[in-house]
Symmetry: C2
Subunit: 299 residues, 2 copies
């Protein structure tokens, strides 16, 4: 499909891309640019044929596809270098979780603006690092691709994600950032703050409550173990939508509190039953497995 | 261990007790009182030797151990009947998630007060019904037993849960209800309200966002599919502690929102890093498995 692919940043996502690309034979040669020596060593051990770029220099112009897979706070510096060397023969894409910030970085640079197709695979884990990479990470997951007037390059990027097993969907930047503030960014923010609330309680009551986390908190702690650099970048990049979703959520919490205080049986049951219906839809849409969870000892 | 055990209510927990008791041979004869015909049929198919009580009548006095495993809103009526027939030879326990409300039901009835040892196994699932019952549900899970001056019966109930594989811990009612408002009740309430927020968004934007739930919302939807009757009862029974925990949580959300607005990098990173440490503790304390989650296709 390509002659040369360059992946910039080889953590969990970069390494999963690398594994998927190699497995599906999507390129003749694969290049990695990765600042961490440890990550380079892990990657080298896995794939002898990978070539590492020491700098983002004129070799860039030979890369048919360049994929940014670093935390988004590094995009600005990377793109400054990349834009010096690319031509209209190259395609750039990324895997960042918010898109308006990336669009802002490229819109005043015509060479980037013409050749950058923004994408966002809805895939990941609470663990980080190339050692956890998985060639199937993108399989049967959505990959959002941001609409672009360059139809040819849009088709090529769409084909690339499909080859990795993803279901692709086209969106506008605004729509993307709005939707994922609710389905992804708010849940993560909530998980982090639930854990913080438990820590506050523990400090105040001098009581080890973490050990009783199996009743619910445990499940949130997995989400709240996600990479802190990645999530700080998301919270800062999509701040307006996220703040709106926090406000919507706090309003619901306050309403629910009032319903508890008034022992509003009917309304509470309605909310709880509606949640169950959403769960059924999520399973029906194959976003999760139906298999119930009985805690750590189920098998 | 016992001659006759009666389980009142044979849903997920009741059926798991039944299976565990039969497997560990903790009684000569097991009795079930269950109002739902469907649940009785499922139970009968599984265990031919189970006897069903049609009414809570004088047969009660022959039961060495009586276990309440219904939603807590049914306790009052059940205990009215049970208290007519029990003597100091019987022991009663329950599996309810809040304890102050149960204590209030029994404290003015001396025969109940003398023979009721309150317990709460920290085990369950998002699914309901006897068909999901599992003899190992309580294995390696905490079971909280409420302190009681009747040391003999307290020892017997402790032994009972240990035989089912639980790790037991003694608590005061007040301590129990306070701790679990944070580690269990708040996380469930938050999950229900996250799903509600997503539904509100979907209605407002006429946009199907549920299908993009793999980025975080999905994991909360499992918790938010838990039994609505059970959870309504918990929210109403432990209202004061739960309202306090909602307030603590909203305060943290508002602080976090301010930190996003002020781009307070250092503070945000600190909260995110602390969460990751709690996750490590939870795994260390064997409240969850370390195995990372990569979404529905991991295996």
């Amino acid at each position: 499909m390509f002659k040369n692919i360059l992946i910039i940043g080889c953590g969990l996502i970069g390494s999963s891309l690398l594994r998927g690309i190699v497995k599906k034979k999507l390129t003749k040669q694969i290049y990695i640019f990765e600042k961490s020596k440890k990550n380079r060593l892990i990657t080298k051990r896995l794939f002898k044929k990978v070539k590492f770029l020491k700098n983002l220099d004129n070799k860039i112009s030979n890369m048919d596809l360049i994929i940014l897979a670093t935390p988004m706070s590094q995009y600005k510096n990377i793109l400054k270098n990349v834009s010096k060397y690319i031509t209209d023969k190259n395609i750039i894409t990324d895997v960042g979780s918010t898109k308006n910030n990336v669009e802002n970085l490229i819109k005043n640079n015509s060479i980037l603006d013409r050749n950058f197709i923004l994408s966002h695979p809805i895939a990941g884990s609470e663990v980080s690092g190339p050692e956890y990479g998985n060639s199937k990470l993108f399989k049967n997951k959505w990959c959002v691709i941001i609409k672009n007037k360059n139809k040819k390059k849009l088709r090529l990027i769409t084909k690339f994600w499909k080859k990795l097993g993803s279901n692709t969907v086209l969106m506008k930047t605004r729509e993307h950032d709005n939707i994922f503030s609710i389905t992804s960014h708010l849940p993560h923010l909530v998980a982090y703050n639930l854990i913080k609330t438990a820590l506050n309680f523990q400090q105040k009551n001098k009581n080890n409550i973490i050990k009783f986390s199996a009743g619910g908190l445990r499940d949130f702690s997995r989400t709240a173990a996600s990479n802190e650099i990645m999530w700080r970048d998301i919270f800062f990049s999509n701040d307006r939508n996220i703040i709106n979703s926090i406000d919507m959520f706090i309003k619901n919490l306050k309403d629910f509190k009032k319903k508890i205080q008034n022992k509003n049986n009917k309304e509470i049951l309605k909310i709880l039953k509606n949640s169950k219906k959403v769960r059924k839809q999520i399973i029906f849409m194959k976003q999760d497995v139906a298999k119930p969870n009985f805690g750590r000892d189920d098998s």
